[in-house]
């Protein structure tokens, strides 16, 4: 078998296998809003690890998403050469805790990467995420190798018709989106949907063409199996990079859901905005990738 053929078949097989998992959240959302696990868990007041533990238990445990011997991509935000206390990247302790949970659920291999904005070595090291991932048993992969990005068609897109996507995002059995909630000068807010800009190659095209439309449309390429949004120290201005810790608010929150659109809608509220203020949330919702009206969802709130 040729390598190309092997890869193509691999993708086909992987996609087929993934279908049931990808469809699960719809099934829950549409059929039984009042039975089974909640659509979205909001947590406040605990440490990131405490909130992760309770939140995962509430949503059905990591075992609901990760099965034995699967490969898992955990995608935090590692975009900036900033220290953990500067709040520009996902909390490294949370990243480590998620990886431990994933491995406990029986995953064969956990990968972590981001196509960073600052130099990737600086970002990986100074964010503390590389150390946390390695200590937890995961594997950090550089995101700067263009040959690892594969051109994909985007179904139903009017603007982002094709996009070069990292193979780990496409080929891993499970994808866990692990964003940090921040103000964002360009996109207005960054959380679950915007965090996916770190798995694609050509960000210039998005900015040049229609940033909001591209972020919204990219969500159809693959819906993450689980989103865990870090809203512990929330950057409320000068985002996404931040100038000093004065840009941060200690909110001690976390949002866990299978629906990235719902996560972003909840995140917008934490920033004092509404989902309708952030155009890409509505775009992804219209494409059927999630629900931006939190009142129609089963939300479980946990306060520490």
């Amino acid at each position: 078998m040729e390598r190309r053929e092997f890869i193509q078949r691999g993708i086909a097989a992987g996609t087929l296998l993934m279908m049931p998992v990808g469809l699960t959240p719809f099934a829950f959302g549409a059929e039984a809003p009042l039975a089974g696990p909640p659509d979205l868990v909001g947590l406040v007041g605990g440490t990131p690890q405490q909130m992760l533990e309770k939140g995962l238990a509430a949503i059905g445990g990591m075992g609901r998403f990760v099965k034995k011997d699967q490969t898992v991509l955990v995608k935090p935000n590692i975009g900036w050469n900033k220290k953990p206390e500067e709040g520009a990247n996902t909390n490294p302790e949370l990243v480590g805790a998620v990886i431990k949970e994933v491995l406990k659920a029986g995953a064969k291999q956990v990968y972590v990467f981001d196509n960073t904005c600052n130099h990737w070595q600086h970002c990986y090291q100074n964010s503390g995420i590389e150390a946390a991932v390695t200590a937890a048993g995961g594997t950090m992969i550089p995101g700067n190798d263009q040959s690892k990005y594969r051109r994909m068609d985007v179904k139903g897109a009017t603007t982002l018709k094709t996009v070069d996507v990292h193979e780990l995002f496409l080929d891993s059995d499970v994808v866990i989106n692990l964003p940090v909630l921040k103000h964002h000068g360009g996109a207005r807010m960054t959380c679950a949907l915007k965090n996916m800009m770190g798995v694609i190659w050509d960000r210039h095209f998005w900015h040049r063409t229609d940033l909001q439309q591209c972020i919204g449309e990219f969500s159809v390429v693959r819906k993450p199996d689980l989103c865990i949004a870090d809203a512990n120290t929330v950057m409320v201005r000068n985002g996404p990079r931040g100038v000093s810790v004065a840009d941060l608010e200690l909110r001690k929150m976390q949002i866990i859901s299978t629906d990235p659109v719902a996560v972003d809608a909840a995140g917008a509220k934490i920033l004092g905005r509404e989902a309708s203020d952030i155009p890409y949330i509505g775009i992804a919702s219209k494409l059927g990738m999630g629900i931006d009206d939190l009142s129609t969802l089963k939300v479980e709130r946990i306060t520490f």
Binding site: G42, N81, C117, E130, G186, H207, V243, D247, I270
Partner: protein, 503 residues
């Protein structure tokens, strides 16, 4: 018979070359190893002294000079990687039994070149870098050797070696790379016929060491029992012997004669205890030295005026940004010797040696190229390695406020203005939020706070408009101090009182 000295010398040369590779690779940037290494040469520290920056590391250089006063050209024979390269070529020729010849330039001419170069450097023309071997060494390392090593390591490590600077080094097909390839290929060919051709002709560091060697305490010399068999005339790797008499302008202090002399006549002898027979310098008298020196000076001073006129006359001159710490463009181009050390260690690759796309005085001098990359806010690597102080080392907090240029915005082609779409690529990456997004109706548009801009070029690099960027850095000839982007009162994280889930 076992030959220990050549093997020992080869080992020393290999080790020094490895040390050179290690420091240029960049992982040790910021450690004292760099200053120690830079001190182990002559021209780069001297360039720093002329520019006024004497540090405690000058002691290393002083030590090197003292060693030269003790046993002659230790640096040339045992350390210098460029000398090593010529020895490899000459050894090859010896194995193939190719004819070898002497080549030389009388010491007074060499001294003239040296004095002229030093005066020119002190007066502000960066001639020194073009003729000193250290710059050539740095250029081949940056352009050819490190990328080659990096490629090899990338293949062999198969992605396991992630956090070394080395895996990020790639070939750059620029003029400096081609020049250094050409220079070292030519030097190889020359050295096969004329051993140590570079050392014997031009090398200004070599000139200094030759002069010191003239007064060195110890020197290899035959005893009276020398039967004048002339074995040494053929065996000396640099052909410095004539009937057993050492030409101290040519001798590199390799000490191989101590072993290969069949009658063991050679020894390291004190120049001042007993009369050592050395060859007279070929025709160099004090008068000629002075004449050549002053002639060199006069010629150069005449050229300098022209060079300065050339530098300042070029209308495109303002279009080049130089690294933070350089102070001003003019200071930078007169102090930099073009060794490419900073280019090799720059983590973002924003530094590149200028080619013919810029004015002649900048040739091979590193400049900031924001087309490809940006100057990292949290980095002072270039200043930490610069051996001449052309890039002055400032503490990181100070460096973060050095303005090397100012961002300019063209609203005619900027996406939010022109297309009424969100973009914000520039504001996203701006470390000081000098460019930040503000609402204008339903639109977020970029706004500049020029007092905060440091000219890092990240906005220019990420700006997506084509073919022209709508935000770019206009370099400053004289660097400035930007306002601090930090809040006036010590910034603290806000801890909200009534913290409840808002959904």
């Amino acid at each position: 018979m076992k030959r220990r000295i050549p093997r020992l010398r080869r080992t020393a040369q290999v080790l020094f070359f490895l040390l050179t590779l290690i420091v240029f690779e960049g992982s040790s940037t910021g450690s004292y190893l760099i200053q120690f290494y830079n001190g182990l040469h002559f021209m780069p520290p001297m360039a720093a002294w002329i520019a006024g920056g004497v540090t405690v590391w000058a002691l290393v250089t002083a030590g090197l000079l003292l060693v030269s006063l003790l046993i002659g050209r230790f640096y040339c024979g045992w350390l210098c990687p460029v000398g090593f390269w010529q020895d490899i070529a000459a050894g090859e020729a010896r194995k193939l039994k190719l004819p070898v010849r002497k080549i030389s330039l009388a010491l007074h001419w060499r001294l003239g070149v040296l004095i002229a170069a030093v005066i020119a450097f002190a007066a502000g023309a960066p001639l020194l870098g073009y003729i000193d071997h250290f710059s050539q060494l740095g250029m081949i390392l940056r352009g050819v050797l490190l990328p080659a090593l990096a490629t090899l390591v990338r293949i062999l490590s198969m992605g396991t070696l992630q956090y070394s600077h080395l895996v990020e080094i790639h070939f750059n097909a620029d003029l400096a790379t081609f020049w250094s390839l050409f220079f070292f290929a030519l030097l190889y060919l020359l050295s096969r016929r004329y051993p140590r051709a570079w050392c014997d002709l031009l090398c200004p560091s070599g000139t200094v060491f030759i002069i010191l060697q003239r007064f060195s305490f110890l020197e290899p010399a035959p005893q009276d029992n020398c039967p004048v068999c002339r074995v040494c005339d053929r065996q000396c790797p640099v052909l410095s012997m004539d009937k057993g008499i050492v030409d101290s302008q040519r001798c590199i202090g390799c000490l191989e004669c101590l072993e290969f002399c069949p009658s063991k006549s050679f020894g390291l002898r004190s120049r001042y205890r007993q009369r050592v027979i050395t060859q007279p310098l070929n025709g160099t008298t004090r008068r000629r030295m002075l004449l050549a020196g002053s002639g060199g000076m006069a010629g150069l001073l005449a050229g300098l005026g022209g060079a300065h006129w050339f530098v300042s006359a070029d209308p495109a001159a303002a279009d080049v940004a130089v690294p933070p710490g350089a102070g001003s463009r003019d200071d930078y181009f007169t102090r930099c010797i073009g060794c490419s050390f900073c280019v090799a260690v720059c983590p973002t690759g924003v530094l590149r040696p200028a080619g013919i796309d810029h004015e002649t005085a900048m040739l091979f001098r590193p400049i900031l190229d924001f087309k490809k990359s940006y100057c990292s806010y949290e980095c002072i690597a270039c200043a930490e390695v610069c051996p001449t102080g052309a890039i002055d080392l400032h503490p990181l907090a100070d460096k973060k406020r050095i303005r090397v240029g100012s961002a300019k915005l063209d609203k005619e082609i900027c996406i939010p203005f022109k297309n009424k779409k969100d973009c914000g690529a520039c504001a996203e990456v701006c470390p000081t939020q000098s460019v930040h997004m503000i609402p204008q109706g339903a639109q977020m548009i970029p706004e500049l706070k020029p007092e905060l801009c440091i000219g890092c070029g990240h906005c220019e690099m990420v700006c997506p408009t084509q073919p022209r960027k709508s935000i770019w850095v206009e370099p400053l000839r004289l660097h400035e101090k930007a306002d601090s982007p930090l809040p006036k009162n010590p910034g603290k994280m806000v801890i909200p009182e009534d913290n409840k889930l808002p959904f």
